[in-house]
């Protein structure tokens, strides 16, 4: 779950967080979708995961809000992405960076 400090320079300046760390009620705008976390740990390679996320609409500029989370380890999460609802696991959401709205 820990971010690699070297790679996060671009995201660390603002209040961007990984979607995997967001809680229900958090909302904001997607600022970056990467292909780097846990290679070999998703069943597909990271660039394939990135393309799947992009295809589902996890793209820079999309509005996102975390709606629900599962009972066990708060996983998976359900998000509202623009006008769709999507369920995904936190581990697959690590490379989605969200600029949270001020609460």
């Amino acid at each position: 779950m820990l971010a690699d400090p070297g790679k996060d320079a671009a995201s660390a300046d603002a209040a961007a967080v990984r979607l995997s760390a967001a809680r229900p009620g958090d909302k904001g705008v997607i600022v970056d979708v990467r292909a780097e976390s846990h290679p070999g740990d998703h069943g597909v390679d990271v660039s394939e995961l990135q393309r799947r996320l992009l295809e589902f609409g996890f793209v820079e500029g999309a509005r996102i809000e975390v709606l629900h989370e599962g009972a066990i380890w708060r996983d998976p999460i359900a998000v509202r992405l623009d006008d769709m609802r999507i369920g995904l696991r936190r581990r697959d959401a690590e490379d989605v960076w969200v600029q949270l709205d001020p609460r």
Partner: protein, 624 residues
Amino acid sequence: MSDIALPTARIALVGNPNSGKTALFNALTGSRQKVANYAGVTVERKEGQVATPNGRSLSVLDLPGTYSLRARSPDEVVTRDAVLGKLAGETPPDVLVCVADATNLRLVLRLILELKAVGRPMVLALNMYDIAQRQGLRIDLDGLAREIGCPIVTTVATRKRGIEDLVAQVEALIEAGGLNADNTWREPDAGQIRDAHREAQRILKAHVRAPERPDTFTGKVDGVLLHPVAGLLILLTLLFVMFQAVFTWSKAAGDLMTDGFTAVGVFVAAHLPPGMLTSFLTDGVISGVGSVIVFLPQILVLFFFIILLEDFGYMARAAFLMDRIMGGAGLHGRAFIPLLSSFACAIPGIMATRVIDNKRDRLTTIMVAPLMTCSARIPVYTLIISAFIPNRSVLGVLNLPGLVMFGLYATGILSALGVSFITRRLFWRGAVEPFLMELPAYKLPDPVNVLRSLYIRGKIFITRAGTIIFPMMILVWFLSSFPGAPAGATDPAINYSLAGRIGHFLAPVLAPIGFNWQMTVALIPGFAAREVAVAALGTVYAIGNADAAPGALATTLQHNWSIATGLAFLAWYVFAPQCASTIGVVKRETNSWLWPAVMLVYMTSLAYLAALIVYQVARACGLG
């Protein structure tokens, strides 16, 4: 009708999952549809016919739903190849009909951009247009049509609105003829997907105005159904109600069918001279096929619930709620539905694993599905429990036989989770596929569509299961009938047959788990289907009509078996692959003999081990 017969044209329906594509397919083709498989792959191929007012015949192919032409599962490979006209054994479609949920256009716009690159003539069907209107969603149809460069038709598939319009547009495109342009589609990289989204966003902004009354119903319902605690409780309650319904609603119909098959068997036996042919018809064909067809009512009730929940939009939520629980055992959230179906019968369960994209996830699910307690085990469990488990209460409220039954179900579930966990750890390391699933807006299921889907499911079960079961039944009947008993024989005829010989031969192997030779012999015909073991035990112990009056058989077993043997037999039946049809379906769904062989070996080993432990422990406790 025109004077000249126009050639049949082919159209293919493409679209995102949950776009109402199947409802539109049903509205177009009515009952003139055929379900089969695509050549060489286990992907369902749905085709139907529609006649245009001009007398042209259209053949409509309902392609599996997809978000992209970049195929990731066998289903999506079929969609991509069919759209590109590269699918082996299929004529390329003349016109593509892209089906879109009018209230959810963002992702489908990106798919449309991909489809445009293929260069085939295309119509966009904006389905569920009534919901869009109710929400006050404004779509500039002319502008949108100009922008994407293809005609747009608005449809409400469930009310058959816009269907004639759609057919007319398709026909106009056919008459215009030929490919629009060359195929320039290439698999997009991340950058191109981003560009396509930007383009889709621009088109949306220019031609679609956000709904005035957006759907708040889905959000409210999700607040309850996806609640971490309440959601799980509701899911469990739903499952409980489903199982109650599966076993109570279908009981009368199932009993009626059992009686029917018995009556037909008796009728045939009474009107044909006794001999091999009569034995083949009554013991082989009628009782064999009957033993599987009697599960049809249960399967239909189960599928009724599954289709209802699917159409309502709940199944994606069930997968969401179960994902972590199943994921702990290395199963995908989508494995939930196939495993659920396996409680009625593993055959539809294994057929339902097609919804799982990843091959390993799917194989794991297929491998553990028969461990779920299917309803064919119930007659065996009931017989042994009534013979060996005293009917007394435990802690005042619980009843011991019921508790044992519950324990057998729980053992099945836990061992399925355990086997999948171990498979994942030892053989297929590496993570499960990403879990990314659209949670569609809730919609009231349309009764006609539900019934039609139910009819199709039932038909598929009968034809597919029937074609696999039939040869298996003949094999088992042959083993149990040949050679016949010699003249003056005193033992039941089965003792002299091949099955009897195999049973006697195997008896020493099964002695350590407490099985006598009668049980071993009964296990051979019991391979036809689990509940056949009850009748087979009746045969070896020479008790007529053991199915109808299990009481006499239970008494005989009490006298002939020790309690330890009875318990070991129960343990054996939790695991043993005593169902030739399941093995046949696994062969069919995996396209290889390797996986059925693996299943046979691992389940038999587990059964032996479990029976061995139970028997030896029970003996040590003085129950031998």
